[in-house]
Point group: C3
Chain length 282, copies 3
């Protein structure tokens, strides 16, 4: 019989021992747990990045306990929480918006509590490492079958902190979206899903010419790109850009065997207008 | 009883959730599997690097299933494959040369198939993430004991794509080789093994003076180095270069407690001529 | 029944296959072992960094075998060793000071041996990868219950190599310390613990104004900082510096949601004088 699954996502970094200490605390309580690291290299303090990674990953993980810590507010009055999802998972982490997009992908929030019961914390709780002192013990006890209600008082789900992720705007012939993540391949992920893009532009076929008007943001300059819609990187041709639907249904900009983020100088939060390109025949 | 071993090697990067999603898919099918990450930081798209890492690692891993994904051609007509080795392992990945050097180290290819059977894929197969949709499910089912022939039709092994790794050339008194990998210590690995070098120069002893003529390649300038043959980094002296046999029998250039790659400005594919150095007494 | 715990800490890097090969060797001998990676991204050759990470991590890990390899002297006459701690753990690695601070945190050294018995090594021992050839097999056999005395002859603990970590100096009203580690958040860790600081300055309260005189070291310039003592990053205010007690009781300098190391240009080994700041009212 395989042990219960506990996944971990943090911005602790692989060089420091913090992620390992969380695993150590968990195995001290639940030695049979199967541990699955989603990522410990989330950009420091980037709550939205962490939320987006959970949104991608959780539907592909077995039902289990998922502890996530991107927590610049550690030690202040932000609440430490646990959530039970409709799918049957438990999510554990700070109440700063990190957990909710992932919870939505698991059917939504069925119950939420604040992690206050000292019986399910380490004996000493520091002000800077709740991953070790609160979240890992909570995850381990939940994995062992402790009912979520034993860990602390109920929270009304509508009071949970949410992230202000800007929604794409669908117009006839034009989609207004923005960059939400640039992955380690340099693939540039937009806030829009394929349904949004096709609602704006109609059905898309490989080779359809598109126009991207990318606005400046912070240090990053604006630009206008003409790129084809494609169904595979390799169909663009080495070094050529393409717009495509990524494996989560999200609209992305890439360069075949290149790095769109660095080669095109693109960064998070740049606004992007997508339309069909009338100037070429495709 | 320990569960079956499944190893993973990819260029997905530790920040993104892709490697974790592969683990999640595997544990959804084979919850008892023991997962061993070889690397997820292979240089993007560097098929030869991935092949070389498998060549190093696989002989030291227990018999198991080894899934490897460095796959710039994902979604094009390159074949997804599984291989059974003479040692009894299964290798899973794209048919782009990535798997063959590792398979050779496990006794060679005993059988190969194309992964076409939809019963052993995820229900929806994307065009950009076959690691999740095809390779991880195949690895999990093979680990559970599904016969390789159930996963798809046989492939004639001689039709598998091979990498054009240049072989070293042994002359009397001179070895022509090239740089194939620079590791994270900056140790510069050549295509030649110790047998090649001793075939060219005769038996080597610690302190023997050698001459390396390194040709320019791309941005990297050429240079000539005089370095001793050594049997341990620390015998060169801090900051001093040495040529040595690495722990896989490969000829390597290093700097004791330094980084030969960056300090000497060396990169992959620079040609290197090695001879004995007549200008010093050793 | 959960398998025995084996933790690993190295400077091998996540890109190269060395850490995975250690896991493979361990599972070849002890297939039931639960493997816990503390870090494989220790700064290359930085024995003190590795020692400090073990000091942080080991008290939070279950009793087990802990193999650590930061080993610039591999292949020279430095001894490969195993230690049994008073808590009941076994530590395995090179005799270069790496293991002792962690052993102290587990009650101290109860016994030590030199790893000489070839029955508990790989059949061929290279001169550059004792992690694979000596330390991983030793760790696996110890995890299986082989008595430490079977692995080699006793070593007198007082002969083990120690690191020269400079101790903080407590004066009335002034603490002389130095930077020992900068973590991946840029938090700057001092050699002093909270007890040292309060011995010098008396009890500290959030908001107490402090003065840091940081001396130059190597390339890094000196500077004088005025920072408050705080109990949580978020109480400093975004972008503001703070001195605080980290979750291991160590005195640290941080910037709320920033990176103190890079923003303030601080590096390891800079001397730091800490006193109360008389020029502000706090």
């Amino acid at each position: 019989m395989a042990g219960p699954l506990i996944s971990l996502l943090t911005d602790f970094g692989a060089r420091d021992p913090s992620a390992a200490i969380c695993r150590g605390v968990i195995w001290g309580i639940a030695p049979e747990a199967r541990l699955l690291d989603i990522s410990h290299e989330v950009t420091k303090y980037a709550i939205r990045d962490g939320a987006l990674l959970l949104w991608c990953a959780l539907p592909y993980l077995p039902i289990g306990v998922h502890a996530a810590v991107v927590d610049p507010g550690v030690g202040t009055d932000r609440r430490p929480i646990a959530i039970r999802t409709v799918r049957g998972d438990h999510l554990v982490g700070p109440d700063n918006g990190l957990l909710l997009p992932g919870a939505d992908r698991l059917g939504g929030v069925e119950a939420a509590i604040e992690l206050t019961n000292p019986a399910f914390r380490l004996p000493v709780v520091s002000s800077s490492f709740h991953g070790r002192d609160i979240f890992s013990p909570a995850a381990a006890h939940l994995a062992l079958g402790v009912p979520i209600g034993d860990l602390g008082p109920s929270i009304e789900p509508s009071t949970l902190v949410t992230l202000g992720i800007p929604e794409p705007v669908v117009d006839r012939g034009r989609l207004a979206t923005s960059i939400v993540y640039v992955d380690t391949f340099g693939n540039v992920k937009l806030s829009a899903l394929i349904e949004d893009l096709e609602a704006a532009l109609g059905p898309l076929s490989p080779g359809d010419p598109l126009r991207l008007e990318i606005a400046s943001h912070g240090q990053a300059a604006g630009s206008t790109l003409r790129v084809p819609w494609q169904d595979a990187f390799g169909h663009a041709g080495e070094g050529q850009p393409l717009l495509y639907q990524d494996s989560y249904g999200r609209v992305c900009l890439a360069i075949d065997r290149g790095n769109a983020g660095t080669q095109l100088g693109l960064v998070d939060d740049q606004p992007v207008l997508v339309s069909r390109d009338a100037t070429t025949g495709g």
